[in-house]
């Protein structure tokens, strides 16, 4: 295997809390890897440890097989795209992108630097904005300058700290596509930090779900979504119904007015409370016989249920989530 970044029992203890609690991860070269978790789960601390802004209390960080824990950030070959981009307000777009080259490649001539910056700006479609200041460009452009500034140095790993969260929703979706496309083109390993499960699922080759300083599960988005191993992962990625003690996704639960006859289908009776229209589907909220709440995703064009109606919900045993972990 070609591991570019490896975390070994990485721990960060603050006086009041253990932000990162012994996590181990191996990230492959060229991979788009996401670290997903709620705020305060330790994902940003993990990023800051990898970048070198924080020192780990215990554990090791290996870049290309060599420990980098003892190196200050300016000697580590990783790049960071910050949440609010952290562009230098006193420098032009060109100077922002050239900043790293001037520091890290002291032997390059002015022309070589100019060429590299021009190429990076062209890649990020920033031609013509060279002389602008960060205050004079749009949010999406700032984002692209931040990416160009880090990518021009061809880092071993590019760390992205919730880079899309400062954009408005429409631009965010567009940048998501551009980001994936960019990563494929430049072939640099991306470590993407996010609290948005949709971003993690749609962008990643593999992802890790973090909670309270530990990694709950690592896998491809499909694996993590359809076979979550812990209750936290199941609930954080999409909704879960807890029926007869097992977890089932709202889209895997069926609903009908009559009791299903098929034997290998499991069913429970209930009453409809109401429904929420979500555009591409409808979520019907029901209370089941034992008082358990249940959400069922249905296609509104097929059928509709009204509040107070008696219904049966049922599912295939194959759709039961295989939660084995003991973590809450």
């Amino acid at each position: 295997m070609n591991t570019v970044l490896e975390l070994r029992s990485l721990t960060k203890q603050y006086p009041d809390q253990r932000a990162v609690d012994g996590i181990s991860l191996a990230i492959e070269r060229g991979e788009f890897f996401s670290l997903l978790g709620p705020s305060g789960c330790g994902k940003t601390t993990t990023l800051r440890l990898v970048a070198g802004f924080e020192e780990p209390t215990e554990g090791d960080i290996l870049l290309n097989g060599h420990s980098v824990v003892a190196l200050p950030p300016f000697r580590r070959n990783v790049g960071t795209v910050f949440q609010n981009y952290a562009l230098f307000p006193h420098l032009t777009v060109f100077e922002n992108v050239a900043f790293g080259l001037r520091r890290r490649r002291p032997n390059e001539t002015v022309d070589q630097i100019r060429q590299k910056v021009d190429r990076a700006l062209a890649l990020m479609q920033l031609r013509g904005k060279e002389k602008r200041r960060p205050s004079e460009i749009s949010g999406g452009e700032k984002q692209r300058v931040a990416l160009a500034r880090s990518l021009v140095l061809e880092p071993q790993v590019l760390l992205l700290d919730e880079p899309l969260s400062a954009l408005d929703p429409k631009l965010r979706k567009q940048m998501r596509i551009e980001l994936k496309e960019l990563q494929r083109r430049v072939g640099i390993t991306f470590l993407f930090i996010t609290h948005d499960e949709e971003e993690a699922l749609s962008l990643s080759d593999r992802m890790a779900v973090m909670n309270k300083g530990v990694i709950e599960q690592v896998g491809t988005p499909r694996e993590v979504y359809s076979t979550p191993t812990t209750r936290f992962v199941a609930e954080f990625l999409g909704g879960v119904n807890w029926l007869n003690g097992v977890g089932i996704r709202p889209e895997a639960v069926r609903m009908s007015r009559t009791k299903p006859r098929d034997d290998d289908r499991r069913s429970i009776e209930g009453v409809v409370n109401g429904s929420t229209f979500l555009g591409h589907c409808v979520h019907v909220h029901a209370t089941l016989a034992s008082g358990i709440p249940c959400v069922v995703e249905i296609d509104d064009r097929m059928t509709s249920f009204s509040p107070g109606e008696a219904i049966h919900v049922w599912w295939h045993p194959a759709d039961e989530l295989p939660i084995t972990g003991t973590r809450q």
Partner: protein, 275 residues
């Protein structure tokens, strides 16, 4: 509503007009009159007072005031910048350090200047210690020279440099410093390429706040300079007291005012967001 507004503004107007504009006009008028035989002013009207300023004797004083103020400002910047940076990065203890910077204001400037005289004079603490340790045979001439005046000015006006610098540095986004290091800049390079350029406004404000009062200082050169280091402030004071030449004193103080206003204009044109 309109009347209420006028009433509230009235005290401010009264103070500004009565205690600033009117005295200024009196000074203007005096500067154009002649010296009375027993002090005071008398006719005829004349420009003589302004022409006298160009006497080499007074030009020397003017030049000395400018360079001593410039050197003091430079020292304040040199000492104040690291101090302000330290306070801005001190986290929870920031308020404590900020209060320490302002602590000297709780004592009269006059008393603090006297304290320096006690420290610096031939039989003062510093010379006594140096001699006791046999580091020097005779007392060092620490007091009554340009150096002592600069020391006093730097000491007195350092907080005026630190406070505006602190205000700028405190607002500096820490992510920018992370970003600079991430892009390969060592802390030292980060200081020169990011922190210093981004605190330019604070530096300009601090330098003005130090340079202007230094230019008009009279207490410090009087006490620590011992009458040997005469600055514009001393010249003005002298004309109104010992020399009893009010018209000339008025002319010199107006020239000082013009000098300061000219400087402000110059800086304001360069730094649009400062003033």
């Amino acid at each position: 509503m309109q009347r209420l507004r006028a009433w509230f503004l009235a005290p401010g107007y009264l103070v500004t007009v009565g205690l600033f504009a009117v005295p200024m006009l009196i000074v203007c008028a005096y500067s154009l009159l002649s010296r009375g035989p027993y002090g005071g002013v008398t006719t005829p009207w004349t420009l003589e007072n302004y022409l006298r300023v160009f006497d080499p004797l007074y030009l020397t004083i003017l030049w000395r005031s400018v360079w001593i103020s410039a050197v003091s400002t430079a020292f304040c910047l040199l000492l104040g910048f690291p101090l302000a940076l330290f306070v801005a990065r001190a986290g929870k203890r920031r308020t404590l350090f900020l209060n320490l910077v302002m602590l000297p204001f709780w004592t009269s400037f006059l008393i603090r200047t006297y304290a320096w005289m006690f420290l610096l004079r031939d039989t003062g603490l510093i010379n006594t210690v140096l001699q006791a340790l046999h580091l020097t045979g005779a007392p060092l001439p620490l007091l009554f020279n340009n150096g002592a005046v600069i020391l006093g000015l730097v000491y007195g006006y350092l907080p005026f440099m630190v406070l505006p610098l602190y205000a700028t540095l405190e607002k500096l986004d820490p992510a920018l410093l992370d970003a600079a290091q991430d892009l390969g800049a060592s802390p030292w390079v980060t200081l020169w390429t990011v922190i210093v350029p981004l605190s330019k406004t604070g530096m300009m404000a601090g330098c003005l706040l130090v340079f202007i009062p230094c230019l008009g200082a009279y207490l410090t050169p009087d006490l620590l300079g011992g009458g040997k280091t005469v600055m514009i402030g001393n010249l003005v004071q002298n004309q109104f007291t010992t020399a009893r030449d009010w018209p000339f004193g008025s002319a010199v103080s107006l020239l000082l005012l013009i000098l300061v206003l000219g400087l402000l204009r110059l800086v304001a044109r360069k730094e649009e967001n400062l003033l």
